[in-house]
């Protein structure tokens, strides 16, 4: 760095092989409706938190499935578990429970880290 004035950039592609999708698998097992999401965005559209902050439930669905766990943990705090998303979902996904499970997984990860 000192010699050249920069460092070699890190790749930011989703690396499907490297990612850990165990949280996604746990959620799919505990809340099977999670599998049927078609990324229509109804949940994000009705979401109260999304109205005030950069928070997209639709994107969270995808990121969980891809194993982008760091990203998820950063944003799920914003969800207040009001459950409107679950009311509007055309596929009957219990998004509220998906987030609850993700939060639990987060706490577990934190505890293990400590």
């Amino acid at each position: 760095m000192e010699k050249f004035g920069y460092t070699i950039s890190k790749i930011r592609q989703i690396d499907y092989e490297a990612n850990d999708r165990s949280i996604a698998e746990m959620i799919m097992a505990a809340e099977p409706s999670f599998k049927t999401c078609i990324e229509c965005g109804c949940c994000s559209a009705t979401c109260t938190a999304a109205g005030y902050t950069r928070f997209s439930l639709r994107e969270i669905h995808i990121l969980i499935k891809r194993g982008e766990n760091k990203e998820i943990f950063k944003s799920i705090r914003k969800c207040m578990l009001c459950g409107k998303c679950t009311l509007v979902c055309p596929r009957g996904v219990n998004t509220r429970n998906v987030i609850t499970l993700a939060k639990e997984a987060y706490q577990k990860t934190e505890r293990n880290a400590v």
């Binding site: 010699k3 050249f4 004035g5 460092t7 070699i8 890190k10």
Partner: protein, 353 residues
């Protein structure tokens, strides 16, 4: 990988390449970083192939790096290009032959624009007339210098002194080809072999005895990206692109890299040094680095030209391992001998770093 599939695609992209009477236009990057390559190209064209090739002393840059660095507007670049065409017209030539891939891509793009928007061509003609009093004709043939070497690859092979073969094992060298992005990515039909499986360098490698190595990131840009290298703060991107290519080609154990773009060989050469400096990581067999060559240098090598006449001493990544492998004769003492400055010099290449 099925070779026949590639062969079928290659047969679909045969472009017309003039066979004599060329108007040669130099490359800014080549002249600064690989002067020996342009000298070698002209030597092959004139002495080996006996072609008529003319260089106008008043030709200039096409302004391409300024254009792709976004400081030169498109109207300006089109008019600079029109002036180059005017010099060609005045000199009585019709076959335009740029040494640079950025230029080649730019000429291709501009000719395509003029074809679809004749009013733009008319405007450029007026602007050129107003600025310089010159008029031009559109070239009847536009080919990159590597297209011409490709066209005459068999003639070169017939006169070759060396082959791209490991002299000890008799096995063909494994050669990775790297095509400049602007060669065919914008207009696949303008490149030998198209955009996805370009054949321009692969054809040379095969004809001269080597084996072409395909690898997943073959099509990836070297990372120059104009402003991405020109500005120090952005160079982390630039080196990361080349690193991705090295990592991707590593399992295939290539002996060398051959390129047809002026800038790519410089970057693929220098970034190996930087990656070693920054991360202590070296590529190539025994960590010697993967030598990177221009196609002119490779043509010169197989024809038996002296490596130091080709300018291989300007590489940061050592080329000697491959010279030894092929069995090319050279004088190690002469490497940094500039003629006037005859004292032996020590210069730290990748191997010595």
């Amino acid at each position: 990988m099925k070779y026949d599939g590639k062969r079928a695609i290659w047969s679909e992209y045969q472009k017309e390449i003039a066979d004599d009477n060329y108007f040669y236009v130099r490359s800014c990057v080549r002249q600064n970083f690989f002067p020996g390559s342009e000298v070698t190209f002209l030597r092959i064209m004139k002495q080996i192939l006996g072609k008529d090739i003319y260089e106008h002393p008043c030709h200039t840059t096409c302004s391409g790096i300024g254009y792709h660095g976004d400081v030169v507007p498109v109207e300006t670049t089109m008019t600079v290009v029109a002036r180059q065409f005017a010099l060609m017209t005045e000199a009585g030539y019709k076959n335009y032959l740029p040494s640079c891939i950025t230029s080649f891509g730019l000429y291709t793009e501009i000719l395509d624009t003029w074809h679809h928007f004749p009013e733009v061509e008319e405007r450029v003609r007026r602007q050129l007339k107003k600025a310089t009093g010159r008029e031009f004709e559109i070239p009847s043939n536009l080919a990159h210098a590597s297209d011409v070497i490709y066209k005459f690859r068999k003639e070169i092979a017939a006169k070759a002194r060396y082959k791209l073969i490991n002299k000890n094992t008799g096995a063909p060298l494994k050669v990775v080809d790297h095509i400049g992005c602007h060669y065919a990515k914008m207009f696949p039909s303008k490149g030998v072999g198209g955009a996805e499986y370009p054949y321009v360098l692969a054809g040379m490698i095969e004809e001269w005895g080597g084996e072409v190595v395909d690898y997943p990131e073959r099509r990836h840009c070297c990372g120059f990206g104009f402003r991405q290298y020109l500005i120090q703060a952005n160079r982390g991107f630039s080196v990361a692109c080349s690193k991705e290519k090295f990592e991707s080609m590593k399992p295939f154990k290539p002996d060398m890299i051959i390129t047809n773009c002026p800038g790519c060989p410089m970057f693929l050469d220098r970034w190996q040094y930087v990656i070693n400096e920054m991360e202590g990581k070296r590529y190539g067999q025994n960590g010697e680095g993967i030598p990177v060559f221009t196609y002119e240098e490779v043509a010169g090598l197989v024809l038996g030209f002296d490596p130091w006449d080709l300018g291989l001493q300007m590489h940061q990544t050592d080329c000697e391992p491959i010279l030894d492998k092929i069995g090319i004769e050279y004088s190690p003492e002469d490497k940094y001998n500039t003629g006037k400055n005859r004292k032996k010099q020590e210069v730290n290449t990748l191997i010595h770093a």
